[in-house]
Amino acid sequence: MRILVVVKQVPDSRASLSVLADGSGLDKAGVRFVCNPFDEFAAEQAVQLREKRSDVDEIVAVTIGPAEALQTLRTTLAMGADRGIQIVVDESVMFDELYLARAIAAAVTRDEQGYDLVLCGKQGIDNDAGDLGPALAEYLGLPHIGAIVELVVNESGDRANAKRQIEGGLEVVETGLPVLLTCEKGLVEPRYPSLPNIMKAKKKPVETVDAKTLPGMAEAAPRATFIGLSPPPAREACTIIEGTPEEMAKELVRVLREEAKVI
């Protein structure tokens, strides 16, 4: 069994972010970049499958992004992936996940062996979109299950059952392999790589490739054009309601009905 893990580097969720004055992008000064948390679930799931089964031959990690994303790929290797593929793209295409998915598909289909499992995060916390996984499945011609919280791969490694979080419940889904899965919180708890594994990861092989040199990608361009980033519209200042709890309750219900018209 061969497993592909897709990881992306994103700003730390705890960072307070600001937009460059001309709106052309994020002000990266002082911002820490980390592995997308949902992608860590994917990497952890891959490593746990290898620990539980005897038939996992190889775990390959692929990342796409600017050159600095190599750091995230190394973290995934330290978690237990065997080798890495780093696809380098210009930062300006990072918001178009269809384009990213095409580039990843172009990179991994160079290898005729293919993958039995492709594991991605449910979404990147940069674009907050979650387009990459399903789009990659389409480009690879694979079925997919999105936002899984539970996974069981059968003993012979040709079928899988997963539970997928939806509004108000869980879908119980069955599929044959190969399949692409996107990972939701609750699936697994990502490990912290140990120091020896971090050292080992530095020596693991990484292929670095420019997206434009991949098959069919020379002429490819994002279908959507990035116009700019802006801070979210400021909310009006909070109206503090004062008084005794009884007075607060009465006044709050009054403003919610008469001013805000929401109840």
């Binding site: 969720s13 079925p143 979210p232 909070c238």
Partner: protein, 331 residues
């Protein structure tokens, strides 16, 4: 002319989702600005009765893919249905609601048809035939603006409650056109065996217009009952912060925030929630936010519309009683 606007109408157990109804307002806006007719697609099994609800929203053509394999969502089967419908009506724009299903199927449709994609749009406007859209990104800390081209297919998913649903039309124009989808030609696909409801007693946060949400300072699962009481009066649902979920006070599917659910209800009442940046990422799109917290300097107040600096245990039961009194007076 390939300039139709196709609305994918999502139904669950025979009821059309409000977020899907809202899409018809945007579809009409685009038809006025860019030309083209509004068409609709409903997918499911035994959904014949839904067609009239859908026709009342004024589509010029109404396609229905009604077959047993569509009983539950299946990514490739639904992708095929939407792609077939897009070809049948000559769609240039496909509109979906940003739901678990919409987020999942939209990218496949756009990838399959070589189109442009924008997920979770909160604003859409026409620009010389192209579309300018805005969508929250970076955990809601920024708004990204994108342009989808005037040529080729465009797939948009729209955040629930971005538009108000149109009034139903008393004299619907469209006849139902059955859409036959060749499912056997699709190849290997994932199949949903069943849907297990997480909590049959209470509504889910992604299905309601009003959310009453609690932080860890609520204290315990039993103490959450006062929030459930308020939610019930308001016909809403109970949400929770990550800290409350991690402390075992509420199940994970009630978590709102970066690694939980992103919600945009009409009213969000945050009880004992301080407002960590990851929590704000999940609810700052709510129309009206009420913060109830003893700490006057808690970050939640900077996101709130109305604030009460008070112990939630003192205020929430009074609030429930006051709302009950008011709503009883209405009926």
């Amino acid at each position: 002319m390939s300039n139709s606007i196709l609305v994918f109408v999502e139904q669950r157990e025979g009821t059309i989702l409000p977020a899907s109804l809202q899409l018809f307002t945007l579809a009409q806006q685009l038809a006025t600005e860019q030309g083209g007719q509004v068409c609709a697609l409903v997918v499911g099994a035994r959904i014949g009765e839904l067609a009239s609800d859908c026709a009342a929203l004024g589509p010029k053509r109404l396609l229905v893919a009604d077959a047993p394999p569509f009983r539950y969502y299946s990514p490739r089967a639904y992708t095929q249905a939407i792609c077939d419908a897009a070809a049948t009506v000559g769609a240039q724009t496909v509109l979906l609601a940003t739901t678990a299903l919409g987020r999942d199927v939209g990218p496949r449709v756009a990838a399959k048809l070589g189109g442009a994609l924008a997920t979770d749009c909160t604003s859409v406007s026409s620009h010389n035939g192209s579309l300018r859209i805005q969508r929250p990104s970076y955990c809601g800390k920024c708004i990204a603006e994108l342009e989808l081209p005037a040529d080729g297919l465009r797939v948009l998913s729209v955040r629930p409650n971005t538009f108000a649903a149109p009034e139903p039309d008393a004299a619907p124009a469209a006849e139902v056109e059955p859409l036959a989808v060749d499912i056997d030609a699709i190849g290997s696909r994932a199949t949903t065996l069943e849907v297990v409801k997480s909590d049959s007693m209470h509504k889910d946060v992604s299905e309601v217009d009003i959310i009453v949400s609690g932080g860890r300072s609520v204290g315990s699962e039993e103490d959450f009952s006062i929030l459930y009481d308020l939610a019930e009066v308001l016909d809403g649902a109970v949400g929770a912060s990550r800290a409350a979920v991690d402390a075992g006070q509420q199940p994970r599917d009630r978590q709102i925030g970066l690694t939980g659910k992103v919600v945009s209800p009409r009213l969000y009442i945050a009880c004992g929630i301080d407002g960590a940046i990851q929590h704000l990422a999940g609810m700052r799109g709510s129309r009206v936010i009420v913060a109830i917290n003893t700490k006057a300097d808690a970050p939640i107040f900077s996101a709130a519309t109305y604030g009460c600096v008070v112990d939630l245990f003192e205020l929430v039961p009074l609030l429930a009683a006051e709302c009950k009194r008011l709503l009883a007076a209405d009926s």
